[in-house]
Amino acid sequence: MAAAGGDSNGDSDSEEMLLTPAQLIHSLEQAWLNEKFAPELLESKPEIIECVVEQLDHMEANLKRAKKGDLKVSVHHMEIERIRYVLSSYLRCRLVKIEKFFPHILEKEKSRAEGEPSVLSPEEFAFAKEYMANTEAYLKNVALKHMPPNLQKMSLLKSVPKPNLDSFVFLRVLEPQENILVEPETDEQREYAISLEEGSQHLIRYRTVAPLVASGAVQLI
């Protein structure tokens, strides 16, 4: 029977073990674009980042041994620069989101169940915690400590905006899905189901397709 695609979980993640380098770069690019367009911070991909860094280091070590001025060497250097750009743009994009939504991300991290994958890499987690501590210390020193005692408390969780999951995103379908329920915009309209055919492109609310982004069934564009 047709699978209810709307609530499929990201439990197919452990499949990406044996990738060729080309597939690896492709999945880095997919992760980069998804991260760029998703309103919330997506799950971190430590295995992809690790492998890409390894590939780059390996290639650079090889190039050191090659003779200079060779056409081949310059082509390799160009490719390395391109991959490095995607990698750093991806990581930078994640840092921007962490700085923007840090109280909520840390809160989610705190309530995460044992065994459930973290959205943050260990380095990002350290960064988020430090950012939180610094922000709190700064606000305290600059303003709060000069306030009357009853006004010296503030909750970052309440004052920092949450990611807007209702925002619209463009996507391309990688794995076909059926019966995706689309909630109506106004009360007069009715809820209806759509199917996502492979290769088709859509404009829809992020909330509707968030599980599909996580499982890799759709690609944000």
Partner: protein, 185 residues
């Protein structure tokens, strides 16, 4: 997303060049290229083709669709239909710009090609504005955007999605402070 980043993605597309040097296969991380022999056609990504062209090490062989006759057909088709017609390449605009900027001497009737692609683009943008308008007016929550290319989506993305977010917020009447500032990305 910056237009330059869309162009960056377009630069991964393959084009054919005729090399003016010989070189064994290159084993890049993203896959193998070559071997290169003088005069023989070989497929390379656009970023490499442009670099080699700038160093006068190759001649570009334009993609099949980059041809006045074919592009005229595409333009006329685009003007005739109400919906978006499929484009010959998902990066037709970016590739036209890149290849004509760096290798116009290898592309016959380059100026006409530039005009034809621009005409097609303009027609599509007009359609895009119309359909965005009706999407907003009818308060739709889902649209199929097949055949739109990334560059086209990108030119309308910020404006359209932010407008929709603002309207949604006004309509659902959220309390200020709750999530009313979550969109100044």
């Amino acid at each position: 997303m910056e237009p330059a980043e869309v162009e960056f993605l377009a630069e991964k597309e393959l084009v054919t060049i005729a090399a003016q040097f010989s070189l064994d296969r290159i084993h890049l991380i993203g896959g193998d290229l070559g071997p290169f022999n003088p005069g023989l056609p070989v497929e390379v990504p656009v970023w490499l083709a442009i670099n080699l062209k700038q160093r006068q090490k190759c001649r570009l062989i334009p993609p099949e669709w980059m041809d006045v006759g074919k592009l005229e057909e595409i333009r006329d088709q685009e003007r005739k239909e109400d919906t978006f017609t499929p484009m010959p390449s998902p990066y037709y605009m970016e590739l036209t710009k890149l290849l004509l900027n760096y290798a116009s001497d290898n592309i016959p009737r380059a100026d006409e090609i530039r005009t034809l692609v621009k005409d097609t683009w303009d027609t599509r943008m007009a359609k895009l504005r119309l359909s965005a308008d009706s999407f907003v007016r009818q308060q739709e929550v889902h649209a199929k955007v097949d055949n739109l290319t990334l560059m086209e989506i990108n030119t309308t993305r910020t404006f359209l999605t932010q407008a929709l977010d603002h309207m949604y917020k006004l309509r659902t009447n959220l309390q200020p402070g709750e999530s009313s500032h979550s969109q100044d990305f």
